[in-house]
């Protein structure tokens, strides 16, 4: 089951995001040059007075066991997955916009909450 995630969404200029110091233990998903989704608690210091920092509950996610995830992705993901760990990647999976976080212990699968039910139907 995909669970709704609670994090911060940060839109700022790319240099500010490159230089930002993220809270310890947080997960930083760089969705675009100017766009970060941050999971974790703590203060964020950014050098961009115009940055947009908003509570973000628009994504849902779930953790998958790596072997099972790769198996599923083999029949649903058209693009080549990153080989290194950890890695973040995003693109169409099973016809939906999906974000993937890979590390040694899990594959974390995220999508817009509005499409979570749809993605679940397309999962094993």
């Amino acid at each position: 089951m995909l669970e709704r995630l609670e994090g911060l969404r940060i839109i700022a200029n790319a240099q500010a995001l490159d230089a930002a110091v993220w809270p310890n233990g947080s997960r930083v998903f760089r969705l675009a040059a100017d766009d970060v989704f941050l999971l974790g608690d703590g203060e964020v210091h950014l050098d961009d007075p115009h940055a947009i920092v908003e509570l973000e509950t628009g994504f849902s996610g779930m953790s998958m066991e790596p072997a099972a995830a790769l198996d599923w992705l083999e029949s649903t993901c058209e693009w080549e997955l990153p080989g290194q760990r950890p890695a973040f990647a995003q693109g169409a999976v099973a016809g939906l916009a999906v974000k993937l976080w890979f590390d040694e212990t899990e594959v974390f699968v995220m999508t817009a909450s509005a499409l979570a039910a749809e993605l679940e139907e397309r999962m094993p």
Partner: protein, 726 residues
């Protein structure tokens, strides 16, 4: 012994046999020169409900059902009740080698030795390449199902096919190509008395002279040849073997030549052009004879493509594998030049709908966070503006009155929402919108149109100001995705320093509307509601909200925007708090009625490709004194053209006509209805519609569905807006 059913009888087979081989062993064999290589069309049959399967290409399975292909006809459409499904596998590699004969194996081995990731495909190993597409992507069907292989290079090593004989009697059974005969002999099949022509398989001598015809009743009984001096010789036989040369199986290469695909081995050879056929069937799939080709040629169809289209030769199940060499030969004979083969197109191996759509999905429609709530309340859900939304909770009339007389809530989470900040944010919005933005004070909002460069209305929404550099924009539900591209594109082309965040899917929005809306919200903690067209942050039922005061329904309304994680809690809190106010939610059906009474347009329903603000009576939303905005030049230009039609309000007695109904003036077509509903509160039908001007004037009345309609000012209800501003 294992067996399958053919035409109702049981046929035994040895493990590993193809269906065709098993049939040959059993002595039942279709007519035509069989190739046993998947090239010719003669052995197609219906296998387990799938027609046009070549029996030489499927291995026997115990219990399978094979029906012969109807002679001279087509199989019936299946009913689709078989449970054939296939999974999808997506693979990546450096090189795909198609064909694992000598040249293909060598190409694969060489690449592997160089450390390349190689995937090989071969029909003999159960993996058919279906087509090569841009990407590069190779589509294949294997024992895994459908395979989509993404790669950098492809080597086509599909070999060559043997040329079929074309002469009288070539449709008899008992005729084999040289390779087919060799294959049958290797499998211990007794061919009886054999007569070979052309290049025979090893161990057989061929008769001299040119092949003239085959003789026999159903089965071949003799081969007739002719010497150079015209003498014919009849060679009685049980089996005829023809070795007429090769033509490359290069369709995969030809369809992808310009994608950098290479071809090796026999697939790269120059095609043998056989002697021009004098009689017999050239194209067995479409049943085209040599005489037919000559006849059509004589009537001016000289180009290969025209010949193909006029005779349909090459358009059948083997896609020209059988007929192409002979067509080229005959056209060269008739016209003096050898024409190129016709265009190679996917698919090169036939594939079923079920197989090809493995892993395909229908378009996904997002759901709001309240989707479960709507369903629980028994709402009839519909796809609206790209989302699943509640059309009605079953009592549109009751939902409507709840808004007009009491209080109601509606899920408007699908609204397009966007945050824009940055030093150039005001500049961006000033250029994007046709109205003045700079004057909007923090905490205030303004209704806006979005125009395209041609001055036509793309969308509408609100601009809400939060601070000097902070803005919140709304768009229509169906316009939101496009709006994001639109805003980003312009910001980038103008190189403005802004930050943009689309909040459509992150923020929920609940519209609290009706005369008792304020009372309800007070109960859940809104003590200081914003004034009309204002907005403010507030805690409602303990949830952080941003409250927008505006009105689409015509009643006092507050839109509560909040993180979607809180939508359900907020929705339920409102329902609870309003229970004694007879609070009930309203669906889209009721909402459309309510807004129509107010004359609010729905962009996309009431507007069209050519809707200028002037045609929509929205000149007030355009300020031509601004220095610049997208669509300004076009608006000035179109304003000079005489106005020809406008969106107007209409009222009628009696039931509402259909949306889309034609509007007539003096018996002439004069427009059509875009929105129409019975208005319970004004007790008449109220409509919006396009009306053409006649002699420069809008008619004052019209005929719709044979009844009188009066052109009426909008809003139809509460014209001075007192209720919304209350």
């Amino acid at each position: 012994m294992a067996a399958f059913t053919f035409d109702g009888s049981s046929v035994p087979f040895d493990s590993g046999d193809s269906v065709l081989l098993a049939l040959r062993k059993a002595g039942t064999i279709p007519g035509g020169t069989l190739c046993f290589a998947g090239d010719c069309p003669h052995c197609v049959a219906t296998v387990d409900g799938v027609s046009y399967v070549r029996m030489c290409q499927v291995s026997c399975r115990d219990g399978m059902t094979v029906e012969p292909h109807p002679v001279g006809g087509a199989p019936p459409l299946p009913d689709g009740t078989t449970a054939h499904t296939a999974p999808l596998q997506i693979r990546h590699c450096d090189l795909v080698v198609i064909g694992q004969g000598e040249s293909g194996s060598a190409a694969a081995a060489e690449a592997i030795a160089r450390g390349r990731r190689v995937i090989t495909l071969d029909s003999k190993q159960g993996a058919d390449a279906i087509g090569i597409y841009a990407g590069l992507t190779v589509l294949a069907r294997s024992q895994y199902g459908l395979e989509r292989i993404h790669c950098d290079d492809v080597v086509v090593a599909t070999g060559a096919a043997e040329i079929q004989p074309v002469c009288t009697g070539s449709d008899l059974s008992g005729i084999y190509t040289a390779r087919a005969a060799e294959y049958l002999l290797a499998h211990g099949v007794d061919l009886g008395t054999v007569v070979a022509v052309g290049d025979p398989p090893p161990g057989h001598a061929s008769v001299s002279g040119q092949l003239v015809r085959f003789e026999g009743e159903g089965r071949v009984a003799a081969v007739v040849t002719r010497d150079w001096d015209g003498t014919e010789h009849t060679h009685p036989c049980d089996t005829a073997i023809v070795g007429l040369g090769l033509h490359p199986r290069d369709a995969l290469f030809r369809m992808a030549r310009d994608l950098g695909v290479t071809v090796v081995g026999d697939a790269a050879i120059d095609a043998t052009i056989p002697p021009p056929p004098q009689a017999g069937t050239i194209c067995p799939c479409a049943n085209v004879t040599a005489d037919d080709v000559k006849n059509v040629w004589d009537r001016g169809f000289h180009e290969m493509e025209l010949m193909k289209r006029a005779t349909l030769a090459g358009t059948g199940t083997c896609q020209g594998m059988a007929c192409l060499p002979h067509l080229r030969s005959l056209l060269a004979d008739l016209g003096g030049t050898v024409q190129p083969p016709f265009t190679a197109r996917p698919v090169t191996k036939q594939i079923t709908f079920g197989e090809i759509s493995a892993g395909a999905h229908l378009r996904a429609y997002p759901r709001t966070a309240l989707d479960g709530e709507h369903r629980r309340l028994g709402a009839e859900m519909d796809r609206i503006g790209g989302w699943w939304r509640p059309w009605t909770y079953g009592d549109t009339e009751g939902e409507y009155w709840a808004v007009r007389n009491g209080v109601s809530i509606g899920d408007v989470s699908t609204l397009g929402k966007m945050i824009v900040t940055g030093p150039d944010s005001a500049e961006l919005l000033e250029r994007l919108y046709p109205t003045r933005i700079a004057g909007i004070k923090p905490g205030r909002s303004k209704y806006v149109l979005i125009l395209d460069e041609r001055g036509y209305v793309l969308d509408d929404g609100l601009v809400c100001r939060d601070g000097e550099y902070e803005w919140f924009l709304t768009f229509t539900s169906s316009g939101a995705t496009f709006a994001e591209m639109w805003v980003r594109d312009w910001a980038e082309s103008w190189e403005l320093d802004v930050r943009i965040l689309n909040r459509t899917m992150s923020l929920g929005a609940i519209n609290v509307t009706g005369p008792h809306a304020k009372e309800l919200l007070e109960r859940v903690g809104l003590s200081d509601p914003p004034s009309y067209m204002g907005h403010a942050s507030a805690q409602i039922a303990g949830i952080d909200c941003r409250v927008f005061r505006l009105s689409f329904t015509g009643e006092l309304s507050f839109e509560l925007h909040h993180a979607i994680a809180d939508s359900v809690e907020l929705w339920r809190a409102l329902l609870d708090a309003g229970a004694d106010l007879d609070l009930r939610p309203h669906g889209i059906d009721a909402l459309l009625k309510l807004r129509l009474e107010k004359g609010h347009i729905l962009v996309g329903q009431d507007s069209d490709f050519d809707s200028t603000p002037r045609r929509l009576h929205h000149e007030w939303a355009v300020d031509l004194s601004k220095e610049f905005f997208v669509g300004k030049a076009a608006t000035i230009r179109t304003n000079k053209a005489p106005l020809n039609k406008q969106l107007v309000g209409l009222t009628m007695d009696g039931p509402a006509p259909h949306e889309g109904a034609v509007i007539w003036s003096d018996g002439d077509y004069n427009g059509y209805v875009t929105s129409s509903t019975w208005s319970p509160v004004t007790e008449q039908s109220v409509l919006l519609g396009w009306l053409h001007l006649r002699n420069g004037e809008l008619p004052t009345e019209a005929t719709i569905e044979e009844r009188r309609a009066i052109v009426s000012p909008v809003p139809f209800y509460d014209p001075d807006g007192g209720r919304a501003r209350a």
